[in-house]
């Protein structure tokens, strides 16, 4: 235990920062030697180095967390702020699955679980995470074994089935925060239900962590989380400038801290730095792409395995994704988390997330974004792995055309598994979609 704790602290305070500094130094040396290449993109964001540092440190800490501190695995929509006062090292398997997908490793990581009879029709995040449990190596080394599993149904019901499997496999307690889906207005008994569950959660978290919650610490963390969401929202809003100082694809990567280390000063400091850099780029007229002619909205999760290729294909034709419903989801809680009512406000904030609300709300949110960011078109990623996000998109496409006169396309693919995307067919359709703007 003491040895693990020392390793954990070393990874956190010494090795992590050293490795990232070394990595940055090597990167700079490589850049010096490299001849500058023609690119459709604007200069890279300077904060990307800091992002790498934060996330490398996070995963490096994770390697030594089990046995040193209590480890909780949580879904991306879980109110993880409540776990931090118990000193849990919080792991986001979805974040890890996205890293695996970006490296195109989902097929081999999910293979062991598919061999056990789990269908390829299941969510690729879930398959990656379950497959990861059966193998030893992933792109981030290894994930620490969980002492506690926490899932929240505000993003989908799939997480319940997936975490049920994890709980069975790791034989650890599972906390389920069930957030009733909001049809129309949110009801008082829904908020009360979630608040009650948060109270129940603490009993289990106390038992696992052997610590009592300090409610003042929790309130402070909640404040930091609210501020983090606000800062992330400010970063996203810079996309309204013309040209947008970054691309929607950039936001998919810079989202990592608000997902993984939300509720920490480190997270907020990062987004202050990013916001300032984006504003500086606006003042200097620096765009995410060099020749922004058309502005697009992206709906649904990214296709992680194809982000760079996609970004290039669009940028070459002067198309920039200036906003994305997916990135926006983590900015939604900015006004909802309040210290006056730490549990009630947390309950409401986590129930009101985009995917936990009805079609009408989704359409209105998208229309508001389309107007605020002055988009010319939209790409709706019909994601085989995410039914709550995808069902209804065909009607949204029609409503976009009818109500806003905006062209859009529904593209069937997957957020993690490249085997479920027909590249040639997809690119042909997208090329035709882009050509239609010049008609």
């Amino acid at each position: 235990m003491i040895k693990r704790r020392v390793q954990y602290e070393l990874a956190k305070r010494v090795v992590g920062p050293f490795i990232t500094s070394l990595d940055q130094w090597k990167s700079k040396q490589r850049q010096k030697k490299r001849k500058p290449r023609a690119s459709e993109f604007g200069p890279p964001l300077q904060t990307i180095g800091k992002l790498k540092e934060i996330m490398t440190k996070h995963y490096l800490e994770g390697r030594y967390a089990d046995g040193a501190v209590p480890v909780a695995w949580v879904t991306s929509g879980f109110p993880s702020e409540i776990l931090r006062p118990f000193d849990f090292h919080v792991v986001y398997p979805e974040n890890h699955a996205a890293v695996c997908a970006a490296r195109k490793q989902v097929p081999q990581i999910s293979e062991p679980i598919e061999m056990q009879g789990f269908s390829r029709d299941l969510c690729s995040y879930a398959r990656t995470d379950m497959g990861n449990a059966l193998i030893t190596n992933t792109p981030v080394g290894r994930l620490p074994k969980p002492d506690l599993l926490c899932c929240c149904t505000n993003i989908c019901q799939t997480v319940m089935y997936w975490y049920r499997w994890l709980a069975d496999y790791y034989n650890v307690p599972l906390i389920l925060i069930d957030t009733p889906f909001i049809y129309g207005a949110m009801k008082d008994h829904h908020i009360e239900y979630i608040s009650d569950q948060l109270e129940e959660l603490m009993v289990i978290a106390e038992r696992v962590s052997k610590k009592h919650i300090d409610r003042e610490v929790y309130t402070n963390i909640l404040n930091l989380a609210g501020e983090g969401c606000q800062l992330w929202g400010e970063c996203l809003e810079t996309g309204q400038a013309k040209p947008s100082p970054w691309t929607g694809f950039d936001t998919f990567f810079h989202i990592a801290p608000i997902v993984a280390i939300r509720g920490t000063e480190e997270c907020n400091a990062y987004y202050r730095m990013l916001r300032d850099e984006l504003k500086d780029r606006i003042s200097k007229g620096i765009g995410g792409i060099k020749n922004e002619q058309y502005r697009l909205l992206w709906d649904n999760l990214p296709m992680w395995f194809n982000v760079a290729e996609f970004a290039t294909m669009f940028a070459e034709k002067g198309f920039n994704f200036v906003c994305a419903t997916y990135s926006n989801a983590w900015a939604e809680a900015k006004d909802l988390l309040t210290p006056e009512d730490p549990f009630g406000s947390c309950a409401e904030a986590y129930a009101r997330v985009y995917l936990n609300r009805d079609m009408k709300n989704r359409l209105e949110t998208m229309k508001e974004m389309a107007t605020a960011f002055d988009v010319d078109g939209a790409v709706l990623h019909s994601d085989r792995s995410c039914k709550p996000y995808s069902v209804g998109q065909i009607d949204v496409k029609r409503k976009f055309a009818e109500d806003l006169g905006i062209k859009s396309i529904v593209l069937e693919a997957d957020h993690g598994d490249q085997r479920l995307y027909s590249k040639e067919q997809g690119e042909t359709r997208l090329q035709a979609f882009m050509e239609s703007f010049s008609e």
């Binding site: 149904t153 019901q157 799939t158 709980a167 009733p180 009805d358 709550p388 069902v391």
Partner: protein
């Protein structure tokens, strides 16, 4: 047949009619409010309208067919639709029907809790029941009477007691699976008293000694479609001794306590007394152990997991259940349906081979 029944229920009993999507909903409340529930499990067969194209092909056929059915006018005789919050796909369907479809009648939601019994869950569920009853006033124009709810619970308890008796005595009932299931599934649309009468007819056929001679099989899945699975099982020399279909056995409530002075409290207890279901449970052990206990109690020689294509909750559970049964030396067959009208020849061959294999295994008792 259902349409003529719906019309007669409206004309003769002044009842409102709700189409209801799978799986769990408080039928007692509907009965107490004089509302006929007509369940929509697809319906099976090809989608009845081109609107099916508005839902992606990787979504379960129950949802796609139901949307085509509603948009194609198949449910025009009902007064509204009730969507239980079963899964992401039904949640999406509810949004589509309420916000984007040509459907202009009432849409209701029953957002039941997920996971096992907890103090928070019980408290919430009671409020969700009362909230639904309040919302249904929009349809009936009058509030739910507590005494009527108590009577409705008692009526449903009688039905469940009979269903339980039929399930327990399956080997002693001289009816084929097809005949039996044809009657049992009428509970999906008959008024409870009419259904009770049908069940009593089955009860009268219970013999004092077993009459079924085939290989006893347990079935699990969402809904037995196509129904010809039962004919093929009979032809292969097997019969269904225990049922865990979400449409049937999994909804059998085992709660026979007298109705509480607060009937909503009774309903909460009833809700948590049903068998574990992939769409609600957060505990794998419960479901696995329940199914194995059912197999052992009935002496089933094999398990058929008859899933609907793209049904995510079931797809997550199936491999674990299969392994658990195989570890206990009980044969398992996994098969998928897309709500087609007939089983494919390939599937029939698999069924026959499975029954042959199960027949050579020892009883699970």
């Amino acid at each position: 047949m259902r349409n003529s029944y719906i019309e007669s229920q409206k004309a003769e009993h002044n009842r409102k009619v709700l189409a209801v999507l799978p799986i769990f909903y408080p039928k007692e409340i509907l009965t107490a409010m004089n509302i006929l529930a007509v369940e929509v499990w697809g319906p099976p067969g090809p989608p009845i309208s081109a609107d099916v194209g508005r839902i992606q092909t990787y979504v379960c056929p129950v949802v796609r067919n139901a949307f085509a059915f509603f948009e194609g006018g198949g449910a025009d005789k009902v007064d509204g639709i009730l969507f239980p919050h079963t899964c992401d796909s039904i949640q999406g369907l509810s949004g589509l029907v309420a916000d984007f479809s040509s459907w202009k009648k009432e849409v209701f939601n029953f957002v039941h809790p997920k996971g096992e019994y907890r103090a928070s869950t019980a408290k919430y569920l009671k409020k969700e029941f009362t909230d639904l009853a309040k919302n249904l006033e929009r349809l009936t124009g009058k509030p739910l009477e507590i005494e009527a709810l108590k009577d409705a619970i008692t009526l449903h308890q009688k039905i469940e007691a009979l269903q339980g008796k039929i399930a327990e005595n399956r080997p002693c009932i001289d009816m084929s699976d097809m005949e039996l299931y044809t009657v049992l599934r009428q509970g999906e649309y008959l008024w409870p008293e009419d259904y009770l009468a049908k069940l009593k007819e089955i009860e009268e056929k219970i013999e004092s000694a077993p009459v079924q001679k085939g290989i006893p099989i347990i079935v699990s899945g969402i809904v037995p479609e196509p129904m010809s699975i039962f004919e093929k099982l009979t032809e292969a020399g097997a019969y269904v001794i225990a049922d865990d279909y979400a449409a049937l056995g999994r909804r059998l409530i085992k709660h026979d306590e007298a109705v509480n002075s607060d009937p909503y409290e009774t309903m909460v207890k009833r809700y948590f007394s049903v068998a574990p279901c992939s769409t609600r449970s957060a505990n794998m052990d419960l479901r696995r152990d329940h199914l194995l206990a059912l197999a052992k109690k009935t002496g089933a020689r094999g398990l058929i997991i008859h899933n609907i294509k793209f049904c995510e909750p079931e797809m997550f559970d199936a491999p674990l259940i299969r392994k658990h049964f195989q570890d206990n030396d009980i044969s398992v067959l996994y098969m998928e349906s897309e709500l087609e009208t007939e089983l494919s020849g390939q599937t029939v061959t698999r069924l026959e081979a499975f029954v042959e294999m199960a027949s050579s295994s020892r009883s699970s008792k």
